[in-house]
Symmetry: C3
Subunit: 338 residues, 3 copies
C-alpha cells in the first residue's frame, strides 16, 4: 500500500547485476535448506494470468502464503478482459481498458504484481518486444514480476540455475546441452532464452542443438555471447543433438516453436513433421559426462523424452519444479520483504 517511488521489477535477468543474481541463488539454496523467514506479513501479491499455468500459479501462491502474505489470483479466461498495451491509441477496438490504468489501479490494492502475458502469436517481430510486460512495469507503482512473456521466463531460469548449482556445485566450465525436442504444440523460446543467458553469465559452456529453422532470437544470442565473454563461458549452436550432448553435464530438453514460421500454423506444422527424431533417450544421455536430465515441464512423455530417462536417477525435473517454490520465495523476499 506504500508504493515505492521507483519500484524494482523483474522482467528479465538483465534487471539483476551478477552479484545480485548470485545472491538470489544463494538465498534460494539457503531457503531450501533452512526454511524462509516470514518476510511478507500483511503483504499481498496480485497474480494476473493471461494464459494458463499449473506450476507457476501453484508455487507462487504457496510461496506467498508460506511467507505469511496473501496472493490474489486472476485469470483472464474467466475473471476479466483484454487490456490495451499501445500508447496514445483511440481505444475503439476489443480491449475496454488500458494496461496503464489497470496497472495504476492495482498498484493501490496490492504490494506487487506478477504477470503472465499472452503473446498474440502472429508476428515474432511484434511479440518479441514484450510490450505487455513492459507496459505493466512502466505504469505500475509496485514491483512487477514476469511470469513468462514471449521473450523471457526469468523465474524458470532462476530455479534452473539454482538446480544446477545444487547438483553440480560451481557452474563455470560445466557443459550445458540445450536440446530442442519434438512436440505437437511447442512452447515459446522464453524458457531457453532466459536459461541461455543465465548459463552464459555463470561461465558455462552452452551448446544448443536444434533442427534448422528453429534458431533462437538473434538479440538474445548476442546477449548470451556477450555474457559468456565476460564470464569465460562459451555459447555455440549445432544441428546435431549428439554433438551437443557429448561431454555435457546437463542435457536440458525443450520444445520451442520456430521463429522463422512464427504465426504460420501450416508451415510450422509441416516443418515440425520433419523433426520426429528429436527426443531424449538413454543413448543420448550416455554421450554426456554423468549427465543430468532437465526439463521445465509440462513434459510430453515418450515424445520429448523417454519414461526411462525421465523417471531415472539422473532426472532433475522434479527438483527443478520444487525449486520454483524456494527460488520464488527468494525473489519475493528480495523484492517485497520487510
Amino acid at each position: 500500500m506504500t508504493p515505492t517511488a521507483s519500484p524494482r521489477h523483474l522482467v528479465h535477468l538483465g534487471d539483476l547485476e551478477q552479484s545480485e543474481l548470485e545472491d538470489w541463488i544463494e538465498l534460494s539454496l539457503s531457503i531450501k535448506r533452512s526454511g524462509a523467514a516470514p518476510a511478507l506479513p500483511g503483504r499481498s501479491l496480485g497474480m494476473l494470468f493471461f494464459r494458463g499455468s499449473l506450476r507457476t500459479r501453484t508455487s507462487f501462491e504457496a510461496a506467498v502464503n508460506q511467507l505469511g502474505g496473501h496472493a490474489i489470483n486472476m485469470s483472464a479466461a474467466s475473471d476479466f478482459w483484454d487490456l490495451e498495451a499501445r500508447e496514445g491509441v483511440v481505444m475503439d477496438g476489443r480491449a475496454p481498458e488500458h494496461i496503464r490504468d489497470a496497472a495504476a489501479v492495482l498498484s493501490s490494492y496490492v504490494d506487487a504484481l506478477a504477470i503472465r502475458p499472452a503473446p498474440a502469436g502472429h508476428s515474432w517481430e511484434l511479440d518479441r518486444r514484450d510490450e505487455g510486460i513492459h507496459a505493466w512495469a512502466m505504469h505500475a507503482r509496485v514491483p512487477v514480476i514476469n511470469m513468462e512473456s514471449a521473450l523471457w521466463h526469468p523465474l524458470q531460469a532462476l530455479a534452473d540455475t539454482m538446480t544446477m548449482r545444487e547438483s553440480l556445485g560451481a557452474l563455470a566450465g560445466r557443459k550445458l546441452a540445450i536440446v530442442w525436442s519434438h512436440a505437437p504444440e511447442p512452447s515459446s523460446p522464453a524458457v531457453v532464452h532466459s536459461l541461455l543467458v543465465a548459463a552464459a553469465r555463470f561461465g558455462m559452456n552452452v551448446s544448443v542443438a536444434h533442427p534448422t529453422g528453429y534458431e533462437l532470437d538473434g538479440e538474445v544470442i548476442r546477449r548470451a555471447k556477450n555474457a559468456a565473454e565476460t564470464s569465460g563461458g562459451t555459447v555455440e549452436f549445432t544441428s546435431e543433438r549428439e554433438a551437443a550432448a557429448k561431454g555435457a553435464h546437463v542435457v536440458y530438453a525443450r520444445s520451442w516453436r520456430s521463429i522463422e514460421h512464427y504465426g504460420n500454423t501450416t508451415l510450422a506444422a509441416s516443418q515440425r513433421s520433419r523433426t520426429a527424431g528429436w527426443s531424449v533417450d538413454e543413448a543420448l544421455m550416455k554421450l554426456g559426462e554423468d549427465a543430468r536430465f532437465m526439463h521445465a515441464m509440462p513434459i510430453r512423455r515418450n515424445l520429448e523424452v523417454t519414461d526411462e530417462v525421465l523417471d531415472g536417477p539422473r532426472s532433475l525435473t522434479l527438483t527443478q519444479a520444487e525449486n520454483r517454490l524456494h527460488s520464488q520465495k527468494a525473489v519475493l523476499t528480495r523484492l517485497l520483504g520487510r
Copy 2:
C-alpha cells in the same frame, strides 16, 4: 457461522439512512487517513461473479485480507453454473439450482456474500427488477452486498461520494455534471443511477447530459428528485454536454446503453453511431469551475476522454479506484465487523 436472524444487506444506497451514509463516508475517509482496525479476524466473504471484474474483485479481496479476514472467490465462467431466481417454477430448464438453495447453503459456510449478477440484457423491464440480487438478499442468512446489478452499483457510488468529499469538502451546492460518453460496448446505467441518487442526497446540483434516447430509468430519476427536494439539491437533464459542464465542479463521464433500445443490438448500434462527438476533452473541462474529471473505469482512452484530460492534474480517476479499497473496508467493518 452465526447468521443474524435478519441480516443487514447492501443492495442499493436506499438501504442506508442518510446519517448512516454519512457515517460510512466518514469512516472511509478515516480508514484512508489512519488505516483500518482489523475488524474481520476469522471472518470470510464469499464473492460470486456472474460477470467479469478487475477493480471490484481485487479491491474487495484485498480489503477483506487487509482487515484480517478471508475471501472465497467464485466465477460463474469457470467454477459453477446458472442459478434460477424465479419462485415456484418447475426447474426443467438450463439452471440446475435455485438461488434460494445456493444462498441458504453458502450462508452456512461464509459470513457475508458479495454478488455480481449478470443481467440477461434482453428486456429492461425485466432486468430493472434486479431479481437475482433480491433473491440472494431474501434467502441468504448473512449480509448480501451488491457488486453491481442492472439497476445499482452502491459500492462505486460510495467510493465516488467519498472521492468528491475528499476533493471538494462539503458537497451541498456543488455542481456535478454527468456526461454520457461514446463507447462500442456501453455499460449498464447502474453506476450513474447510484451516483445520481447519492449526489442528490448530499444536496449537489446534478446535471445529466446525454443524447436523446439514453434517458435513465424513470423510477431512479424520481428517487433522485425526491432526494434532492429533501436535501436542497437539484437534478436536471439536458442533451447539451456544454450546458451540463458549465460551472461544474466535477465532470463525470460514463457510457451507458440505451434503455429505449435495450436488448436490440442492431438498433442500439445504429443509434450509437450518431453519438461519436460525445467525448470529454480539455475544451469541455474548461467550461467547469476548476472542474475535476471522474470516471468509474474501465475507460476507453481517446474515445470517452482524451489522454490529456485523463492523465492531467484534474483527473480523479485513480483516486476513485483507490477509494474503492478504503470505502469497501468501511462497508465490511460496518456490516461484519467485530
Copy 3:
C-alpha cells in the same frame, strides 16, 4: 512440505476401517457442536476442479481457512490444461502433461491435494475404473482426497451419514429409501454409490427404487451387500417408489444417469422421457415413518421434489449441506492435522 513416505488417501470410504469411519463421524458431530481445533496452521490444500462445483469448493475452502490453513484453488476451465492418466503412452495427443508429473510437482508445493476429476462420459466400463483419481493417489506424495469421481463421492457420504446420525441417532435397523428422480441432466451415480455402501456398513435397511435401466454399478452393489451382511443391514432394489418409501425413516432423492445407455445421449434422453413421474411429493413422504427428506444438491425444484417437501419441516437438505463443512474439517484434521 514434508510429505509422508506413504500418504493416507481418501478415494472412497473403503479406505477407512469401520472404526475409523465411526471416529470420523463422531469427530464431525463434535466439531459441529463445539467447534474445531485449529489443526492446519501453515498447512495448505491444493484443490483441482476438472468440473464445476459450488458446495464442495466453498465448503472445502472455508473449512481449510477456519482451521487456520490455506487453500489454493484451480479450475481446469480457466487455469490449466488436460492431463494424461494412462501409463507408458506416447503423449502426442491433447494432454501436454501427465498426472504422474503434475501430482509429483504439486506434492512439493502443498500438503494435500483434493481432486474433482471429469469423467469422459463415453463408456461406463472405462469411467468406472476412476483412472484419474487413482493416478493422483498413486503419484502424489501427499494425501489425495476425492471430491467426486465417476464411481465415488466419499465426502458427500460422510456428510450424509453424519446428518442421519444427528437426526436419527443410531442407524442400525433404520430404513433408508434411495429414490431415483427425474432431471434433464442427471448426475453420475457416485453420490448414491458412496451412500449405499456407507448406509450398509452402519446396518441400515436400504431400499433403492429406480426405473428399469437405471441399475447401479454391479461391483458397488456387491460391496454394499457384503457390508450389510457384516453389519446386519439389508440392501434391496425395486422399481416401485412407494415400496421403497414405505416405512422409511429417510427418503433420499437423486437423479443419476443410466449406466445402460451411458454415453449414448439420444437413447438416454429417450429413456428419461418415460420417467417423468419420478419425483418426491408429500404423498410419497407420508408412506414413510415420520420420514426425513434428503438430497445432495443441486436440486431441480418441482421436478425432482416439490417445494412443499423441500421447504417443509422434514427436509434435511440444508443440514446436509452445512454438514459438508463440519465433516470436511474432520477429514482434514485426521489426514493433515498437527
